[in-house]
Symmetry: C2
Subunit: 334 residues, 2 copies
């Protein structure tokens, strides 16, 4: 029932080869025949079957994307950046998550072996870096969207975690804050180390080295941000700023401070990291280090698609800059 290249050929009175040629613009062909074929294609509303084309050409025109989960607030931004580029180039995006652990990964591996896509974009599900590296070495084009500071041996897109941390520090120093507290993320993440190093170095250089007890190990959750700061307050520690390494834990910190009756930013200024939508809607609105999530998705997709067209994949990571977004959590309202 659906119309095929054979139908078009018959209607136009030419061979399938010729139809294929006008479709793909390959080889010389008589302008008149080409026009006639195009005419028939339009009349019949013919569109080549993606599957058949893929089989014949050995390429699917599909890019795969593997993400840990879809329910994190910032994943959508990255995904949107990816989808926009992929769609604009006429590719499809096949999405995989690791939500069901081992089982998910096994399914995903099957799809890789089944050649369901031509290349892979990945935000690394925890503990799968070795596996991804293998895929790359086995010849699958892979671009990592590196939110963890992995610095892998294959192409990747990352952001300036270190200078992002530094910018938070400089901002707080300019506001005269001398005794900051840092709430980190999981310590195994490279980005956590980088953000901390950038922040700590800046304070050290300014002559106010960060005391170890002012670095609180967190896990990027709201609850942990709240309890870490809550406990610190209860212990009677004195501090005038909090740098939480993601917005969720920064929001938790805001709550702990409000619960303690402290004024933000007068008593304690707070800076987050990421700039997810939540940051703008918290109380008070959160100053944060903006991560160019959408641009990272965008850049990764472009890199992969360019590779399909012959541009070699870059060996060094493409690093996109963060920038500080100042809101009420560090700027007293007039």
């Amino acid at each position: 029932m659906p119309i095929t290249i054979a139908d078009v050929a018959k209607h136009a009175g030419v061979s399938k080869t010729t139809v294929s040629r006008v479709l793909n613009g390959k080889g010389e062909l008589n302008a008149a025949t080409a026009a006639r074929v195009r005419q028939v294609i339009a009349e019949l509303g013919y569109v080549p079957s993606a599957g058949a084309v893929g089989l014949a050409r050995g390429r699917t025109q599909i890019v795969g994307m593997l993400v840990p989960s879809l329910t994190w607030p910032w994943i959508g931004q990255v995904l949107q950046g990816v989808v926009d580029v992929v769609e604009a180039e006429g590719f499809g995006l096949l999405l995989f998550t690791c939500n069901r652990g081992e089982e998910s990964l096994r399914r995903f591996a099957q799809q890789v072996s089944a050649k369901s896509f031509d290349g892979l974009l990945v935000i690394e599900p925890e503990g799968t870096l070795d596996y991804i590296t293998e895929l790359h070495q086995a010849g699958l084009p892979v671009v990592l969207i590196d939110d963890r500071g992995h610095q892998p041996i294959f192409p990747s897109v990352a952001t300036t975690d270190r200078s992002g941390g530094a910018s938070a520090a400089r901002h707080l120093l300019e506001l005269g804050r001398r005794r900051p507290v840092v709430v980190t993320g999981p310590e195994s993440f490279g980005c956590v180390q980088d953000r901390l190093a950038g922040f700590a170095d800046e304070y050290a250089e300014a002559g106010h080295p960060l005391p170890p007890e002012h670095v609180l190990l967190g896990d990027f959750t709201f609850e942990q941000g709240r309890s870490a700061v809550g406990r610190l307050l209860a212990s009677g520690a004195s501090f005038d700023a909090v740098f939480a390494q993601n917005d969720l834990s920064a929001s938790g910190a805001l709550l702990a401070l409000r619960e303690a009756g402290l004024r933000i930013p007068e008593d304690v200024a707070v800076v987050g990291f990421d700039d997810v939508p939540l940051a703008a809607y918290s109380e008070p609105a959160l100053t944060t280090v903006h991560q160019p999530l959408r641009e990272m998705g965008d850049a990764a997709a472009r890199m992969l698609l360019a590779h399909f067209k012959g541009t070699p994949l870059p060996t060094a990571a493409e690093v996109l800059p963060t920038h500080l977004v100042v809101r009420d959590s560090t700027r007293s309202r007039t």
Copy 2:
């Protein structure tokens, strides 16, 4: 280089037909040969090419999903529900958005014609319902995840908008609130009408009909929620509760109330709708009507996949219940 069914056949000393049969478990076959073939498959790590299988069978084992955008806070939940089911059944999920308007839709239409997927799950991008209806009538299996209260003529999954609105009303009535204000979403949405009707009816029945000037037309944004309530306060209107029809505008309402120095919930209680993560992190934490987003994605995917296995698609919408989640915006803290 990649290994094919022919390689397996050769190594096992059988025909491709036989290999295909053990792969698909079709037809009677000698237990010994089957075992030998399986052995070879395992040794070679053979996985059938998805594209070739799709072409031969006329089915892709891929479900398409069309969404308006990926950056809305609740889309990720629905998507995760969908992906979990789709992956568990060994299908792939091909994702499309309408972020680039007409152009996106044209690209999408191409993929439909190219038979890139067997069936479609859709959260309707505004103004595309007619197009989707056409696709369904043209024979494409479609299930709508109906967040707008469309009640389409094809299979869909929806939620109890009306009784969700009613539950918000009953809760506020129980708290003794007699003069509520409603901040709606875009009035063209069926869900907006339903939520309002459920809410208004409950108040009318309780003997406190909603005055028209207490129904504020909104657009589901934070800023609109804030300004609508802000203006109402400035006008000197008196009210003791706000029912905002999504969490984002409810957060905006919270901000307007805080800015006016009102206590929440003592002076004004606030109820939202959706129960996105933001709701739990707002100040104060927001009481809201939980929408079973993940379950909706889950149910839609199951419906579509069941159809592939022969179960007819239901004609009536599958309606999943909302439930009220009570937090501090209506419950005074002790």
